[in-house]
């Protein structure tokens, strides 16, 4: 459904050139939950921005159902890491979530229904008329997720969405994402630096190398559904997978000389 082939991205030119991504290829099938994990500074965000059409790759291409992505496609929803800066502080929850729907050809009733369903699915009914800054960080990120869901994307791209919330909230939000993914039948690409999170959430995990970035390996995650924060993480397969990915990243990092990592 979504194909990344031969993708590379360099910043700057001449002697100051930075190879953020060297050569990346992988694909995401319909309905799949793919986690992308890699060491910090390995261009995960760059990759996701290229996939969303926010950034033009230096070479290679991203294709959505065979169509080359050269600008943000309507089928893609995006959840940013910085929830406090991607929500509009001058709009209530309702208006924030309805904002992307304004230019879609929808009736008023249809639009309201989409907004209400999305808010209900992230458990924020009753906060409709609050402003984002009246809510906690975790709740703000739920609003951002609701906004993406109401947009009815076929693919949801998530850029380290839970990197700045506390551990308990993070576990709750992980389970929330798994729930809404089923409810909305959406394909998810989830970028994270947290190996546990990647294994817990994903159907497959794409492991990236340090920069210049390439795909190190792609691992299927054969853990039973539905996932559970306690039981899933107790399974020997879970421990095995996370250890495998950890070693693989560690080994690769030790092989490469220390480069100042671009952020």
């Amino acid at each position: 459904m979504l194909d990344v082939s031969g993708l590379s991205k360099t910043y700057g030119e001449g002697r100051r050139v930075t190879h953020a991504i060297a050569d990346l290829s992988f694909s995401v099938s319909e309905g799949e939950f793919v986690c992308v994990v890699g060491p910090s500074g390995c261009g995960k965000t760059t990759l996701l921005r290229c996939m969303a059409g926010l950034l033009a790759p230096t070479s290679g291409r991203v294709a959505l159902r065979g169509q080359v992505v050269d600008g943000p496609p309507e089928q893609i929803g995006f959840v940013f890491q910085e929830y406090s800066r991607s929500l509009m502080p001058w709009l209530s929850l309702r208006d924030n979530i309805a904002l992307p729907l304004r230019h879609k050809a929808l009736g008023r009733d249809e639009r309201n229904r989409l907004v209400e369903d999305a808010v209900e699915s992230v458990g924020l009914t009753g906060f409709m008329d609050h402003y984002p800054w009246e809510l906690s960080g975790g709740m703000q990120q739920r609003v951002a997720i609701a906004r993406a869901l109401a947009y009815q994307p076929e693919i949801l791209l998530m850029d380290e969405p839970f990197a700045s919330v506390d551990a308990q909230t993070r576990a709750d939000l992980e389970d929330l994402v798994l729930r809404v993914r089923t409810a909305y039948g959406v394909t998810v690409v989830f970028v994270t630096h947290d190996i546990d999170e990647a294994v817990y959430l994903g159907d497959r995990v794409v492991v990236l190398t340090p920069p210049p970035t390439a795909v190190q390996e792609v691992l299927p995650v054969a853990l039973p559904e539905p996932r559970d924060q306690v039981e899933t993480k107790e399974l020997p397969e879970f421990a095995h997978l996370r250890a495998h990915i950890f070693r693989s990243i560690k080994r690769k990092q030790d092989d490469t000389p220390d480069l100042p990592a671009p952020t």
Binding site: L54, P72, E74, F78, W90, L99, H103, Y131
Partner: protein, 259 residues
């Protein structure tokens, strides 16, 4: 504790001006100075002059020119500021002109204005507008440039473009800065209103103050100064009230960021 402190501050806020007035009253009553007539006389003159005899002949024309000049400056400054804020190339080209324009001391434009536009309302409105436009313009440019990149990315991802992007994202986000410009401009507008009336006019509050001084009607002069101070205070308070309403979200968001 906090509550009683707040109450104390509010009480002081009211008491200090009253005390200043009382001190002035007492001092001027015994001063017997030609230049500082007793406050009682000034207030009596104030009542005779401004309630409401000269309202139609002087206050309304003054305020109408102020409103017209300020209004034109806000519209022009916001429109031009948006265009320049969005285009780095345009900013580069216009940069020196803007720096020059805002560096010209405002009263220096009066002779030019009189030469080209005569001594009527048009000249005064022009002078007020051309002076007030800079703070609005510069703050709008900054506000529009300073929109959070993540917000702009959000707009792009969700297909919010063109006029909708401007109306729903860029302008609301720039508004706190624009208001900072409005506050500066409003003070300038009052100053230029008075100066333009002192240089060339047959009516207006500025004209009245100068004429009173020339005819040694000192209590009248003081009453005009008081009125100007009062008008300035009320105009700023009015703008602050509008700002509080329009930027309620901004105060809330800032307070929560500090929490």
């Amino acid at each position: 504790m906090r509550r009683s402190r707040r109450a104390l501050l509010i009480a002081l806020e009211i008491a200090v001006p009253l005390a200043a007035l009382a001190a002035w009253w007492v001092w001027s009553a015994g001063a017997d100075s030609f230049y500082f007539p007793p406050l009682a006389d000034i207030l009596a003159t104030f009542a005779d002059t401004w309630v409401f005899e000269r309202v139609g002949s002087d206050v309304v024309p003054s305020l109408a020119r102020l409103a017209a000049g300020f209004g034109i400056a806000v519209l022009a400054g916001a429109a031009l500021g948006t265009a320049l804020g969005l285009s780095p190339a345009a900013r580069r080209v216009a940069g020196p002109v803007i720096e020059f324009g805002r560096a010209v001391p405002p009263p220096a434009l009066l002779p030019f204005g009189m030469l080209v536009l005569g001594v009527g309302d048009t000249m005064k409105i022009f002078v007020i507008a051309i002076v007030c436009v800079w703070p609005v313009l510069l703050n709008t440019i900054d506000g529009v440039r300073g929109v959070d990149p993540t917000m702009l990315d959000t707009a792009r991802v969700y297909g919010i473009t063109g006029p909708e992007r401007l109306r729903r994202i860029v302008w609301p986000s720039a508004l706190p800065q624009v208001f900072a410009g409005l506050r500066t401009s409003l003070s300038l507008a009052l100053i230029l209103m008075v100066i333009s009336e002192m240089v060339a006019s047959t009516e207006g509050i500025g004209y009245f103050v100068l004429e009173s001084q020339r005819s040694f009607a000192i209590p009248e002069m003081w009453s005009g100064i008081l009125l100007l101070g009062l008008l300035g205070y009320l105009l700023n308070a009015g703008l602050a009230l509008v700002e509080r309403r329009v930027l309620r979200w901004h105060r809330g968001a800032r307070a929560s960021a500090l929490r």
